[in-house]
């Protein structure tokens, strides 16, 4: 029988990290996600699975520790919240440039600046449009439940290692802090060093006799070489866009209107959808699970059969730009957002929907 636990989303991330065979976690405390490292330190996995857990001197150091560990082919991760994620952007760009797999968790809080410790979704642009320098992409998973916080750790690592690319779980303070029931993933042993060498033959595990040394770098001073690297990256990104789009569609097939929202906001939209359906208004909810790659094709398909979209976010309107690009003017795309740590109620969303469309 499945073992059902009650815990915070942040705690679920920590448990899942140990259970899916993570080799190393490197982090720096910041609200609202400090429970991730606290839980790991409490569980002391170095005594059981051998997982390394280290509190770094800064988010900059933590992401660069992840870079070093990932360069060895190890399964390594870090977590932080918005201001800390800003500090990590240098390292994320290097990791993407060196084509290394790793997991970064962002439990978003309100900004800009030091902002607030209340939840937000205003790091969407930073996550899916760049953040660090250069043309790179982050595979981005958006959990809406504590169960998904647990499940996406393994999924994010799977995708990261499949494409040798950093992956991010873009959560928010609500999903990080709220307690829900969760079935933790089964235990998976950490890979042995031999298995790491087999899976990541490029890793710096020490030069083997009669083999070439391995060099982890993102540097190429010659323009032609650097351009070729960029072409290789873009080809990889196109493949990810082709293969890895994930979304959840609820009542979309008969819908006249669709709410588009990710993470915790999608759950509020589902409640607003119920309010609409009770009044006979056919509303559906489309929840992008991967924010990059974005479900552009699905939204474009739905645009041909609905009267309009309402995008709801905890921001001034970021994902709505991608929704509008997908809809491409076929039907109206409206937006409702709350900022600064405030969260809309289902009633508020329904009222805004009626104002804009009915």
């Amino acid at each position: 029988m499945e073992e059902i636990k009650l815990m915070k989303g942040n705690e679920a991330i920590a448990h899942a990290a140990i259970r899916c065979g993570t080799d190393g976690y490197f982090g720096y405390p910041i609200t609202p996600q400090s429970e991730i490292m606290e839980t790991l330190m409490d569980l002391a996995p170095w005594n059981t699975t051998g997982m390394v857990v280290l509190q770094a001197e800064s988010e900059v150091a933590a992401i660069n520790m992840v870079y070093g560990g990932a360069g060895c082919g190890k399964k390594v991760m870090t977590s932080s919240s918005s201001p800390g994620i800003s500090l990590k952007q240098e390292g994320i760009s290097y990791i993407a440039g060196a084509e290394l797999p790793c997991l970064i968790v962002n439990v978003q809080r309100g900004g800009p600046g030091l902002g607030t410790i209340q939840p937000s979704q205003a790091d969407y642009f930073q996550t899916v449009k760049g953040g660090g320098h250069g043309d790179y992409r982050l595979i981005t998973l958006s959990p809406a439940t504590v169960q998904e916080m647990a499940d996406f750790v393994d999924l994010a690592f799977e995708l990261a290692f499949k494409y040798n690319n950093p992956a991010m779980i873009l959560a928010d303070g609500i999903v990080g802090q709220m307690m829900e029931k969760v079935v933790l993933p089964p235990f998976k042993p950490r890979r042995t060093d031999e298995e790491v060498r087999r899976q990541c033959p490029w890793g710096t595990m020490g030069k083997l006799p009669n083999e070439k040394r391995h060099i982890i770098t993102s540097l190429a001073l010659e323009a032609d070489v650097m351009e070729a690297t960029n072409h290789r990256l873009q080809t990889k990104y196109a493949k990810i866009e082709e293969n890895e789009v994930r979304f959840e569609a609820t009542n979309c097939e008969d819908a006249d209107y669709i709410f588009v929202a990710f993470g915790s906001t999608a759950r509020l939209c589902a409640s607003a959808m119920e309010l609409a359906r009770e009044q006979g208004i056919k509303v559906g909810v489309l929840r992008p699970i991967t924010l990059w790659p974005f479900p552009t094709k699905e939204i474009a398909r739905l645009a041909k059969q609905v009267k309009g979209f309402l995008t709801v976010e905890l921001s001034a309107g970021q994902m709505v730009e991608d929704v509008r690009l997908a809809v491409n003017g076929v039907v109206p795309v409206e937006f409702h957002g709350r900022m600064g740590g405030n969260v809309p109620s289902a009633e508020e969303i329904f009222e805004k929907f009626k104002e804009k469309f009915l």
Binding site: G24, N64, Y67, G68, C72
Partner: protein, 253 residues
């Protein structure tokens, strides 16, 4: 007698270590980097550590260090080498892990990573080239630039009111409980080269014995950045650099 009569194994007095690759070095003639690279490569070979070594390259003139020493390398972001090395060593505790960093990398942009890796007592070796200038970017002021010394960003000479004081970071690192060995050496003459090689060996031995962090500072020249000939650079270094950065062990426990 022709050369083939002379070139025999029994006549060999010196050979290039196999761990130095055939890649042509990009360093300027007269630069200390080449000598230090050779010494590190020799020690790794003599200690049989090639298969166990993971090295971390910096940003700066030594950014291409990975082209020259035949071991596994990671190329860090500017100043972050000790963070990478910390993770590599903890994830692969039986490997020989070292960073190779210049003064800007180690003592300016990477100050936090350097101090905290040393303070955690990571079982790594840190090789620190201090030539008091940013060579790669064209001769700007370094944290270790001497008072009055002219660079591209202090063309009238380093003014402590404007720029603060030359940073004696190895002295700071020696104060930390995590370091087991902090030494300051140079490579401008044979006797100094021999001492530096011994220091490098000791650093690797300390790592293997898990004694803590070893820091080997090598006071170096940058004849291009200093605008002097290699010979005059050595003279200038002895007269000025050694006064501020005296050679010898700062800590050896």
């Amino acid at each position: 007698m022709n050369t083939s009569d002379i070139i025999r194994p029994e006549n060999k007095v010196y050979g290039k270590t196999k761990l130095l690759t055939e890649n042509r070095m990009h360093y300027c003639p007269g630069c200390s980097h080449g000598v230090v690279h050779k010494l590190i490569a020799e020690v790794i070979e003599e200690m049989g550590l090639q298969e166990k070594t993971v090295a971390i390259a910096p940003v700066g003139c030594a950014v291409f260090a990975y082209n020259y020493i035949d071991v596994d390398w990671q190329e860090a972001a500017h100043g972050r080498a000790p963070a990478l090395a910390s993770a590599v060593k903890r994830l692969l505790p039986e490997r020989n892990v070292f960073t190779y960093q210049g003064d800007g990398d180690l003592a300016a942009i990477g100050t936090a990573e350097t101090i905290h890796a040393c303070n955690r007592g990571e079982n790594i070796a840190i090789f620190f080239i201090n030539n008091a200038i940013y060579g790669m970017t064209g001769g700007q002021m370094a944290p270790t630039t001497l008072e009055g010394m002219k660079t591209a960003t202090c063309p009238a000479g380093r003014n402590v009111e404007l720029n603060g004081y030359p940073l004696k970071i190895s002295d700071m690192l020696a104060l930390l409980d995590g370091t087991c060995y902090v030494t300051r050496q140079s490579v401008e003459k044979l006797a100094a080269v021999v001492k530096t090689k011994k220091a490098i060996r000791k650093a690797f031995e300390n790592s293997a014995a898990k004694k803590g962090t070893s820091v080997v500072e090598i006071v170096s020249t940058c004849n291009t950045g200093w605008g002097l000939s290699p010979h005059k650079s050595n003279l200038w270094m002895k007269e000025n650099m050694f006064a501020k950065y005296p050679l010898g062990d700062l800590k050896n426990v």
